[in-house]
């Protein structure tokens, strides 16, 4: 096998993470070309080990990277959710035509549910960061709370627009998709990290 073919196979075997993959491929190429100067390409490649085995050696490093990316995605999802809960409605919604203590119950309970689900998502997120075990399960639970909160938020935006003309419900509903996408991405990353760690 030539060095170029070997590098192409290794690139295919390595999980997706552009920066780490690029560094590994440059390091491996330098190693193989140095070795080939002494023993020839075939022997250099044979001594290095099968691409799949070499890639497997890096699985723990990739898994750590995926978990870090998942933590960032969860944090971003929580920030986006908080924005939907307070600053965005506060600054974009027209004044409600009812007194503060006479809010329609169908809207009031949805607001309460959003706050409750947001609190649960934050608590689960903190637990995920502290416990560092059952990470896949805890991330999934955090993501579920975020998605439920955003879902209630989207429904609330639509209902609110019916009660308060001028509410930008479409933007609010679309905004709810941001934390959902981030939460789903975090779950997928953590699940991938778990698969890589178990296959290392």
């Amino acid at each position: 096998m030539t060095i170029d073919v070997y590098l192409a196979e290794l690139e295919r075997a390595l999980p997706w993470a552009p920066r780490l993959r690029r560094r590994l491929l440059v390091e491996v190429e330098d190693h193989l070309r140095s070795s080939a100067e002494a023993v020839g390409e075939d022997e250099a490649v044979a001594r290095f080990g099968a691409p799949a085995d070499v890639a497997r050696g890096f699985h723990p490093a990739y898994a750590r990277g995926y978990r870090a990316a998942a933590a960032l995605a969860l944090l971003a999802a929580l920030v986006a959710l908080f924005a939907l809960l307070y600053p965005v409605p506060e600054n974009t919604l027209p004044a409600a035509p009812w007194p503060e203590d006479a809010k329609p119950s169908t809207l009031a309970w949805k607001q309460d549910a959003m706050l409750l689900l947001f609190g649960a998502a934050v608590a689960l997120g903190v637990l995920t960061a502290i416990v560092r075990r059952k990470t896949t399960w805890l991330t999934g639970a955090t993501a579920a709370a975020i998605i439920a909160c955003a879902g209630v938020g989207a429904a609330l935006a639509i209902e609110w627009s019916a009660a308060v003309p001028g509410t930008p419900w479409l933007w609010l509903a679309l905004g709810s998709a941001v934390p959902v996408v981030l939460a789903l991405a975090a779950t997928a990353l953590v699940a991938r990290a778990a698969r890589l760690a178990s296959a290392a």
Binding site: D30, H31, R33, F48, G49, F58, P60, A61
Partner: protein
Amino acid sequence: MQKQELKGHLDLILLSALADGPAHGYALIERLRERSDGVLTFPEGTVYPALHKLERQALVSSRWVDAGGRRRRVYALTRRGDEARQTRVTDWRTFTRAVEAVLVR
């Protein structure tokens, strides 16, 4: 030597090889081969995950250098890495003395 036997000691072996001075992966393997009279041989690709792990633990540092038009990653022992190496060498000597004493009895 068996791959599994080596795997458990690869960190210490690499730290000790780096105690002679900074080196890139291939040079490290050559250094190990020479110092062990060819006994320490293993799939060369296994060295890189170990080096990356040691770097993450701040026991080695690394930087890119230009090597005749090729980019090359050169690793060096950190102060913390040298301390860890000395501790592990002491532990290893204690362990091998104990095993030797049992074996020769």
